[in-house]
Symmetry: C6
Subunit: 77 residues, 6 copies
């Protein structure tokens, strides 16, 4: 199952940010595989300021990794 | 939609800090696309010391990335 | 007992993500060796949005390490 | 308004630490521009052990950035 | 008392992980030197999912440092 | 007042860890300058498992910085 993330390369920082969002959400899917439970939990964080900030922290950590993997898009066209 | 963040380059550390603020807020917009909900949540964190500290942590993480992307503005004019 | 993690090398980013998941779970096993207690605790986090986000943060931190160890899979085939 | 932080360079690690403190506090000012609200919130964190630890975490993250920007003051006189 | 940690070098990633666990626990010993209090606190975190996740975060941060110190065991035999 | 931290260099990893502990505690002193308040808060975290874990996280972050500043003590005698 190792083909869902073939590379950390993205064309732009914006694409890298979206990859960071995807990487953040994956842990929840791996840890709670039941989609019905995940759907039930969604309002718990999507309507809670502190939860949204915590999600932002996870995304920031992944974005740091993706940005480094892309050499910060310094030579992006 | 990958043109909202063409580059992590900024002219100065201060501009980099403002980019970090922007990057921090983006996750909330992606995770809670409903602007009315976001507006309702605003007092929950803007008037809560612990929430503001948590936001600061997210910004600090993004600032580290932006600073690295700019080689810490070492050669800034 | 040092043979359970011979290397941080993985073939792809996806495999690296799964290694990060494994590294995250290991601390719980080391800190709470009683499997019965761990099983009892599982619903406490697998059905709690904030706990799942916190797990995601741990995974993000380990993924950064694994990604660096693999030079971000830049030269992956 | 990008002249409030012209550089991350500091003469010593101690000055770098103070810059990290400044960077930590800035997010609160940007997120809660009302000084009266900020003053009202101050006892909420300055007299709460967990809030003070959380502030310390933010400062630690910024200090890492400032230290890297100064090449860890390795060649400081 | 600086001989309790002569080096961050370890033979394998698994040994490095165990060093990260040790580094994580040390702060508690330094901050709460009374062993009787520490023993009393143990069930508070060893039987609490969120505390175990928080411990995992600390270990992940130390593992990143230990891994970098060992150049990610890239040339491990 | 920039002479309280002339350098991040330490002789050994153990000394580096103690410097990380010192750096962690400094934020509290800067943010809550009143020693009497700090003394009053001490039991709030020294006898609380979650607070001790949070302190450990701050120390882990500073230790990463100090370790990098010392090139991970790779060439330590």
């Amino acid at each position: 199952m190792s083909d869902w993330l073939p590379s950390l390369k993205t064309a732009t920082p914006a694409d890298g940010y979206e990859l960071a969002l995807k990487l953040s959400r994956l842990t929840v899917k791996f840890t709670q595989p039941d989609a019905a439970v995940r759907d039930r939990l969604r309002p718990d964080y999507a309507e809670d300021a502190d939860s949204l900030i915590a999600v932002s922290q996870v995304v920031a950590t992944h974005f740091a990794t993706v940005a480094a993997a892309n050499d910060y898009w310094r030579t992006a066209p």
